[in-house]
Structures are given as C-alpha cells and as structure tokens.
C-alpha cells in the first residue's frame, strides 16, 4: 500500500508541472532490477546463505536505484520533455515498453522468469513498513517544501500556462526536467524496495498496466496537492485486496473506479479546497 502511495507521488511530480508522464513504471522497473541484481550477485553487500540481508546495504540499494533511474530520466527527459500533452504521454508509454522488452531479453536479467530468491533484510513483511514510511515521509516533505520554493512555483506556473511562464523568464525546460528526474529517483528507490519486498522480480513489474494503475492513483486522489496521490495510491492498492471476497469481479470493479472516478470527481478526492475546509474546521474545533 505504501509503495502505491510512493508511486502515486512519482506520477504527481511531473503532473505538478503540467507534464503527463506515464514513465513511472519504467523507472520503477529499472530500480527494482538493479536492486535484484546487486543483492543476488554482489556478495560484498553481505547477503547470507540463509536469505538474510543487512539493512545498510538495502539503503545503499535504494540510493543506487534512485540514482540510476534519475540518470536515465536525465538522458531521456532532455529529449522527450520537448513534447507536449498527448505526445509526451505516448512517448513515455513507449519508454515503458522499451524498458520492459529490454528486461525481458537482456542476458543477465533472467528473462521471463526474472530474478528470484532476493535476500530479505527483515524477518517479517511488517519490517518493510519503516523504510517505506521513511521514504514516503521524505518524498512528502520534498513535495511540501516544493510548494514554497521557486522551483515549485515555477512548476505550478508551467502547469497553468507554459508560454506565459517562459515569458516571465522561468527556465521551463529546467523546471520540467527537475520534476521528471525527481519523479524517476522516487520511482527507482521504490522499485529497489519493492524488489526485496516481493522477493522475485521480472519484466512484468513495469508494464503498460502499471502505467494505468499509477496514473489512476493520481487521478482518483487528485493532482493538485501531494496528499492526493498518496491517498489515491493507498486506496487503490488496498482496493483489490478489499475486493478479494468478490473474486474475479474485482478487476472489473477496479476498472470501473478508473472509468467513473474522473466523471464523478474531476478534481480527485483531495482538492486544495477540501484541505482548506478541513483546516478551517480544525481551527474552529479548537476552544
């Protein structure tokens, strides 16, 4: 669930600058594959024969996964961010597909089966709660800070009117690229964490389906504040689990949420207006 919230934030960042990028699963896959490779192949990280794994090495992988994804985003972003609207969306779908096929076919990523028996840093799944929460807190803090920083304001200006923003002397390319790279770093680190959490890793982790799902996080939650994607990610990753009792129908219902969500709540669940009202309500409630 927390991983969903992290991916939601990763889609939100470019969107905050008005750029609809569906590339998050590509960076997620890159980060995950790197972590899976490092922890299973590189013995210096200290994976034990019993499947254990030291926590500092996990942190190192989070950093490296983020860096690699960020580097890729820097290279790709320079090219694709010249595109706008629907073209950018299509280009990023293409990136996701290229990364997926590459992971499927490269000689060292395990093909269709993928990489399995990834060592576990924690004895139970609950152990992952802490690093995931920490990562989410860090990402949330960055997003919150962004709103008050020149960069965040530049991003908002580009979202509202790119041409006008450029006329005001804002480095639009730089701001868009920064948002794109930040989004990739976040997705890469999330992937590295997810690889350990899921225990196996293959090309299916970053597919077109994942693009849809992560985008749905943001649309459902709302794309105007960073809390929106977090809530959307939490809800939509929990939804299939909650719907498990209805069995096969759950994916149909999941699709219906994506289909009807924007129709019923075009701004998403969490809007700036709602937050303001909540804040006022909170103040009014105090004696």
């Amino acid at each position: 669930m927390l991983l969903g919230a992290l991916l939601g934030l990763s889609v939100y960042l470019p969107l905050a600058a008005g750029q609809l990028s569906l590339a998050t699963p590509a960076f997620y896959a890159v980060g995950g594959t790197l972590a899976a490779l490092l922890s299973t192949r590189w013995s210096a990280l200290g994976a034990t024969a019993s499947g254990g794994f030291p926590v500092p090495s996990l942190l190192l992988e989070l950093v490296l996964g983020g860096l690699l994804a960020g580097l890729l985003a820097l290279l790709v972003g320079r090219l694709v961010l010249r595109l706008q609207g629907i073209y950018l969306a299509i280009a990023t779908i293409a990136l996701v597909e290229i990364v997926r096929v590459a992971i499927l076919n490269l000689p060292f990523t395990g093909g269709a089966v993928g990489i399995f028996a990834i060592p576990q840093p924690f004895a139970t799944a609950a152990g992952y709660l802490l690093p995931a929460l920490a990562l989410l807190a860090l990402a949330g803090w960055v997003c919150q800070r962004l709103e008050g920083m020149p960069l965040g304001r530049a991003m908002a200006a580009i979202r509202d009117d790119e041409l006008a923003a450029r006329c005001m002397g804002i480095d639009t390319t730089g701001a868009k690229l920064t948002a794109f790279v930040l989004s990739a770093v976040l997705a890469g680190s999330t992937g590295a964490l997810a690889a350990h959490f899921l225990n196996t890793w293959n090309a299916r982790q970053g597919s077109f389906d994942a693009s849809i799902t992560t985008l749905a996080f943001v649309i459902l939650g709302g794309s105007r504040t960073w809390l929106g994607p977090v809530v959307g990610g939490l809800l939509l990753t929990a939804l299939p689990e909650l719907l498990r009792p209805v069995g096969d129908v759950r994916l149909v219902l999941f699709g219906l949420v994506i289909l009807l969500g924007p129709v019923l709540a075009p701004q998403g669940l969490i809007t700036p207006g709602l937050l303001e009202r909540l804040g006022r309500w909170g103040e009014g409630g105090k004696p």
């Binding site: 073209y87 280009a91 649309i219």
Partner: protein, 313 residues
C-alpha cells in the same frame, strides 16, 4: 531466397494491414474529438472473441458458461462482419460512458485518456470473466474460408490463404473508409465536425451524431482487426488486444496524428519493419515499434504525413 523474402514481405504487409486498421480507428476519433480512445485495444479483443463465438466456437471450462456456444457456426466472412458491427456498438457504449460525460462538462481533455483506459480495463476483464483466461484456436477447416485452399503457391512461395485475405480485407476496409470520408455526404459532415464542431452544428450538421458515428466506425475497425488476427493466428487470451492497441498507437504517431493516409502508410511500414527483424532477435521485435515511435517523436513529431501545427497563443 526470393521466395522467402516474398513470404516475409507478405507477412509484414498482412500484419501491417491490421496495424493500419487499429491506427485508423484511433485517427477517426482523434480527428473528431482531439482525444485518443485508449479502449481501442480492448475493442480489438472484443472483436476477436465475437468472431470466435459467431463462427461456432465454444466457451472453455474456465468461462462463465462452460461449453456454451452457437449451435451452428456462421461462415467466416459473415461472422467477421457481425463481430465488427458488435465491436462498433461496444465502441458506442464506451463513448457514452467514458467520453460523453466529460465532454458535457468541458473537462480537461486528458481526463478522457484515463476514463477510456478504465473502460478498456473493464472490457478486458469482463471478457476474462465470460471466456476465461485461456487461449482459443479457431476451427481450421477449408470451408471456414469459403472453400479456398489453406495454402496458395504464388511465384514459388507458400502463402497461407488467410494471410492474403487479411491483407485484402484490411486494404478493402481502409479503401472504403477513405473514399467514404473523402467523397460522401456523411464523410464530409464528419470532417466538418472535425474541423470545427460549433460551426458544423450551425451549418445544420448534427455534431453529436457524427461523434457517435466516429466511435462506431472506430470500434468496428478495431473489431475487424481483432477478428482477422484471431482467425489467422489464435486468441491467446483477453489481453491480446492491448498489445495491438499499443502498436496501433505507435503507428498513429509514425503516420501523424489525425492523418488517414498517414495511418495506412505507417501501418504498412511498421508491419514490414517488424517482419524484417531476423528471427534470432525476435524477442526484441516488440521493442522495435516503440523505438521507431520514439525516433519519430523526436525527429518529426508531426509524423510522416501529418500537418505541422503552430500553437496559437
């Protein structure tokens, strides 16, 4: 050597024809509404399964009604036509649910991208509920193809009849559609709405009806493609249309968004390029379309035959 090349080229042209069908479906909707219908891939699957059922195929053990099927299979061409019409109707339903509410509200056009994706997810999973996730092979008999032999010899090359039919049928569909758009009154009305919906409305054209027509035709094209691919290869599962939908997207960009000749040329080009990938690198074949897409977007975003648009302030 020459025979092998001929065979490869024909295979490429045949799958290129199907790509062109899918891309044309996108083009119709895009030119009228300026949005992309991401449910197109799911409609492709719907067409494949409808054709299968209409030809007398039975639902497998994992479906909702195991063993159910039509008592008598229809001939290939009739089943294909009805399946295309059925997918067109489903396309209309997608328009009602995913596009119309947003349009009435003048919402952000990019939202339609999400809702149509949602419609696609719903369709594919309904198919999976109904038919199960297993693959289906069409009954391969000579009378399935209206009495034509399975394999033809052309210039010393063995060509599967169905491949040739695939090429001919998609070529015919594309030709009829382009002529209709270009010449007929309805086609002109559609193009008028594409140019400017409000003005067209003022001139007495029922814009909403034209939008619905575009969705019906677009769904029909996708269904036709799905049926053709199903008959010539097989139905590997409800998700198979999504891949074709994505390829169609690549073709669309290659040819230029909103350009009818571009969609056709792009489809053929993409099919041929894929057929020429050596079999030793066949795993990478799926990446080729997207690599081409990437290249086109960077070098010539308006596509091969698209018009350059200047953004107005």
């Amino acid at each position: 050597m020459i025979e092998a090349l001929l065979q490869t080229l024909l295979n490429g042209a045949a799958s290129g024809g199907v790509y062109a069908l899918v891309a044309l479906g996108y083009t119709l909707v895009f030119s009228v509404l300026g949005v992309i219908n991401f449910a197109q891939g799911a409609l492709f699957s719907v067409g494949g399964y409808l054709t299968f059922l209409l030809m007398g195929g039975k639902i497998g053990v994992n479906g909702a009604l195991p063993g159910w099927g039509l008592p008598e299979g229809l001939p290939f061409w009739l089943a294909l036509l009805l399946a295309a019409a059925g997918s067109g109707l489903v396309g209309l339903l997608v328009e009602r649910l995913a596009f119309a509410p947003l349009r009435r509200r003048n919402a952000e056009p990019l939202l339609a991208l999400i809702t149509s994706l949602g419609a696609g997810v719903v369709l594919v999973n309904l198919l999976q509920l109904l038919m199960g996730a297993e693959g289906y092979a069409f009954p391969q008999s000579t009378d399935a193809l209206a009495g034509l032999p399975d394999v033809l010899m052309i210039g010393g090359a063995r060509i599967r009849t169905i491949q040739l039919l695939l090429l001919l049928i998609s070529a015919a569909a594309v030709l009829v559609l382009s002529l209709w758009l270009e010449r007929s009154k309805g086609g002109r009305a559609l193009r008028a709405v594409a140019e400017d919906a409000t003005t067209a409305q003022l001139l007495g054209i029922h814009s909403e009806a034209m939008v619905r027509l575009a969705f019906f035709l677009s769904g029909g094209l996708a269904g036709l493609g799905g049926g053709l691919i199903g008959v010539s290869v097989s139905l590997p599962g409800p998700y198979f249309g999504i891949g074709y939908g994505l390829k169609g997207l690549a073709v669309l960009v290659l040819g230029g968004l909103g350009s009818v000749p571009g969609a056709i040329a792009g489809g053929l080009l993409m099919g041929l390029a894929e057929a020429l990938v050596p079999s030793s690198a066949s795993g990478w074949r799926d990446a080729l379309a997207f690599a081409i897409l990437f290249g086109v977007l960077l070098l010539r975003p308006s596509g091969l035959l698209g018009r350059r648009t200047v953004e107005k302030v």
